[in-house]
């Protein structure tokens, strides 16, 4: 089930929340939350729900053992348990997500003919694996208490707002809320508003941006010209932002309605004035995860310059690889590693002295190039697109419309996409008087209806010649 599905909005959401708010007993409410979460996950992943359950049970057992060995001061055993859990969690993730990538590369390098496994990727595995790891890592580092009740660990892992696409919520950040969700009217209203904004971002903007980007990238690029190629890159940048941040908004909103405060995941990344700034604003929960569990344990920047450079490369290569099992994702990660190093070592001081607009242009162009690398899994196509971006060829408007009609027609959606790329919504949210609030809420309500309109439009399938 996805948040932007009619089944979720009109069935799951009202029934679940009606029961959730009806129940006053915290324990029963948690049981409902767990059942609801498992149902939500199983709706889209009826088979691999078992994998999630097994990983959680094993993590629970390992957690108990880590705690036991810590108390007994058997630190080598404690470390072994940590390694075992990493092996299990990363092993499962690696097996399902990266097997074919490794097989393909082995086949190419050694001219071998190992058959591809062609495994389906269990939904949300990249996200819930990293969330479970926060429990194990923090437990190992004695930052949290061991969870002795498997129910709460399972509730944390399976919590439906965040299981599919994050945010990657640390166990420590919602540990207390697992036991007691204090929900106020303000939480509910905030959650509703956040959900509506997220839904609109996804269905009104991201889906239309996808039409533009796909229409250009998935067809012969020869008619696009330099303008068309940049248009596609821009559309894809907006698509991925509105898609992902929209989903995060919905997750955070639903989380708040349930009494949970999830980590913010985006903070208007496209107004960033450097790449360092961009990564403070983009997929914050993932960046934080890599910082806390990879970069800092490797020594962070409190090591020799060479090791620091190594740390940066390791973190960004892994960041790239986490996003997908393909070389372009690794290149994408390394691309940002190089830019970040360049900024930190030489360029930041010049950047600081530059006008804001120059800083923004510099960042945005580099971000767009990054998304071109990210979007094109075929390395040859990726380089071809990059070459086209920087070698001028004119675009004939008529030929462009003929080759990419969707890109032309849906370009009208760039208007809201650009308007809400900057913190417009925050300005609107600041309205305080009752009248302004009514206007703002009315607009939100309209936005919700408009989102439903876009969702319903996908089911408009007329049969022109059908006779009743």
């Amino acid at each position: 089930m996805t948040f932007n599905g009619l089944t979720f909005i009109f069935w799951f959401l009202p029934i679940f929340f009606f029961l959730y708010y009806l129940i006053k007993d915290q324990r029963i409410r948690n049981i409902l939350l767990l059942i609801g979460s498992l149902f939500f996950y199983a709706w889209g992943e009826p088979v691999y729900i078992l994998l999630m359950l097994i990983i959680t049970v094993l993590t629970y057992i390992i957690g108990l053992l880590i705690n036991k060995f810590d108390k007994q001061k058997k630190y080598s055993m404690k470390k072994t348990m940590l390694l075992l859990s990493i092996l299990m969690i990363i092993g499962a993730l690696g097996f399902y997500k990266y097997s074919d990538f490794f097989i393909l590369n082995i086949n190419q390098i050694f001219n071998a003919k190992i058959k591809l496994l062609d495994l389906p990727l269990p939904l949300g595995i990249s996200f819930y694996s990293f969330q479970i790891l926060t429990y194990i890592f923090d437990l190992y580092m004695n930052k949290i208490k061991v969870q002795k009740n498997i129910f709460y660990l399972l509730l944390y892992v399976s919590l439906f707002p965040k299981i599919m696409v994050g945010p990657i919520v640390k166990y420590s950040s919602i540990e207390k809320q697992l036991y007691n969700q204090n929900i106020t009217f303000d939480d509910v209203v905030y959650g509703i508003k956040r959900f509506i904004v997220g839904l609109a971002k996804k269905v009104i903007i991201a889906n239309q941006m996808a039409m533009i980007a796909n229409n250009i990238y998935d067809n012969n690029l020869s008619s696009a010209g330099t303008f068309g190629i940049w248009l596609a890159a821009f559309a894809y940048a907006l698509q991925i932002y509105y898609d992902f941040s929209g989903y995060s908004d919905m997750a955070i909103g639903i989380g708040r309605m349930l009494g949970f405060n999830f980590t913010e995941n985006f903070n208007f990344p496209y107004i960033a004035k450097s790449i360092t700034d961009f990564w403070r604003r983009w997929h914050i929960s993932l960046s934080t995860w890599f910082r806390d569990y990879i970069y800092i344990p490797l020594g962070g920047n409190r090591v020799t310059k060479l090791k620091w450079i190594r740390n940066i490369f390791v973190v960004w290569m892994l960041t790239g690889f986490w996003h997908g099992a393909n070389w372009n994702y690794i290149i994408w990660g390394l691309y940002f590693a190089i830019i970040l190093l360049f900024e930190k070592l030489f360029f930041q001081k010049y950047l600081d002295k530059s006008p804001s607009f120059v800083k923004w242009i510099y960042s945005f162009i580099l971000i767009l190039i990054g998304w071109v690398i990210f979007r094109n899994e075929d390395i040859n196509v990726m380089f071809m697109v990059l070459k086209m971006m920087f070698s001028w060829s004119s675009t004939n408007l008529v030929e462009f419309v003929q080759a990419y009609p969707d890109a032309f027609y849906y370009s009208i959606f760039f208007i809201p996409a650009i308007i809400f790329m900057v913190p417009t919504i925050k300005i609107c949210e600041k309205q305080k008087t009752t009248f302004k609030n009514i206007i703002y809420n009315g607009m939100l309500l309209m936005l919700f209806v408009l989102s439903i309109m876009f969702l319903l439009s996908s089911t408009y399938t007329p049969f022109v010649y059908f006779k009743f």
Partner: protein, 384 residues
């Protein structure tokens, strides 16, 4: 409580309306679900029976989603509003480009604009020929197996078989070359202006001018020397919104003039799929602002229609195997025969539960002449 309401008035309104919308969506699909979606010309999807066995199946989830898409409160109106809005905006964009790009096809959803007029883009003729070859083999086999009746072929060339920037596709020559009969003709489009003159703009059918020209050509093809039917009166209105317009958002986006002509014809006995009903009586009210379409004027498609002309001087019977193109000229052709049977193979199987066998039908209904009449698409329909 009063204080709370006062402090949160705006938010309470938001929550209230949201609950109203969600509850409506939750309850409506179960209470009196709609069966027919007039605006989409199809049956509405209804909620499937949910059991423990199918609740987790993807197919059930898809069915639920589709059902919600049709059964939610105001779903039809909301969808229509979206399509109309999109159609209007995109049509405006397309017209801007089309006006600037003379003689160039500007794609717009499944149709195109050519010099501001809705057209279908021409098919790839080499691919079309492959499909036609298969059917020509089939036609020849049918002709070979039946020496008692005469076969005639009349293909209505539409925009899909004409590249207005090049020569029209040589469809007639191709049919004549392949078919083992010389009783072949096509309704030709000589130029873009000719097309504009003979076809509707918002619909894929031929207009009253095209229909009459086609009718006269068919008379020649059938070697009938009779005088063609004469127009007795003509009615026009401006509310036609046809199949091409439907793809853009229907009548709210595009409308055009349609003229319906009355002819001096005998009173027929008409049987539609075994029932005696009026067929092709134009629902045509000039005084009302009613949207109309080809089907409502000339009649919808049916598996079988039989015209009996008791005033006929000839005792011959005609079988027309056709698509909707014939709807507008059925009654004109029926004027020249005792019995005129019109079969649309696309609906025949649905109605009679068996595939239509043309020779078998001709034999059992004392048919003298068999006319295959239709668009380029109908000629490659494998149900024929």
């Amino acid at each position: 409580m009063k204080k709370f309401i006062k402090a949160n008035f705006a938010d309470l309104i938001l929550v209230f309306f949201l609950i109203l919308i969600l509850l409506g969506g939750l309850v409506k699909p179960f209470i009196n679900p709609i069966s027919l979606l007039a605006s989409e010309n199809r049956y509405a999807n209804k909620l499937p029976k949910i059991t423990m066995n199918n609740i987790m199946k993807e197919s059930t989830h898809d069915k639920i989603n589709l059902a919600l898409g049709d059964q939610l409160p105001l779903a039809t109106k909301i969808k229509k509003a979206y399509i109309v809005l999109r159609g209007n905006v995109f049509l405006r964009e397309a017209r801007l480009i089309s006006n600037a790009a003379k003689d160039q096809y500007i794609p717009l959803f499944d149709v195109s604009l050519l010099n501001g007029r809705l057209v279908y883009k021409p098919l790839d003729f080499s691919l079309y020929k492959k499909d036609l070859d298969k059917m020509i083999l089939k036609y020849n086999k049918i002709i070979k197996n039946n020496r008692n009746q005469k076969y005639y072929f009349y293909l209505v060339t539409q925009d899909v078989l004409v590249d207005f920037n090049n020569k029209p596709y040589p469809v007639k020559e191709y049919l004549l070359k392949g078919l083992e009969t010389s009783n072949v003709d096509t309704f030709n489009i000589e130029s873009f202006n000719d097309f504009k003159n003979k076809f509707y703009s918002t619909d894929h059918h031929w207009n009253n001018i095209g229909q009459y020209e086609g009718y006269r050509e068919i008379l020649k093809l059938l070697n009938l020397k009779d005088k063609p039917a004469i127009v007795s009166s003509s009615n026009c209105n401006n509310y036609l919104s046809g199949s091409k317009a439907q793809k853009l958002g229907g009548s709210y986006v595009l409308k055009e003039k349609i003229c319906y002509e009355e002819y001096e014809l005998p009173n027929y006995q008409i049987s539609v799929e075994g029932k005696s009903i009026n067929y092709g009586d134009a629902i045509f009210n000039q005084s009302e602002n009613k949207i109309t379409n080809y089907g409502s004027i000339y009649g919808w498609d049916y598996g079988q229609i039989i015209y009996t002309n008791n005033d006929s001087v000839r005792n011959n019977n005609l079988l027309i195997v056709a698509d909707s193109m014939s709807n507008s000229i059925n009654k004109l052709l029926a004027n020249h025969f005792k019995n005129t049977h019109i079969i649309d193979v696309r609906h025949y199987k649905r109605v009679y539960g068996k595939k239509f066998e043309v020779n078998e039908y001709a034999k059992s209904h004392n048919i003298n002449d068999i006319l295959i009449l239709g668009t380029g698409y109908y000629f490659i329909n494998e149900d024929l």
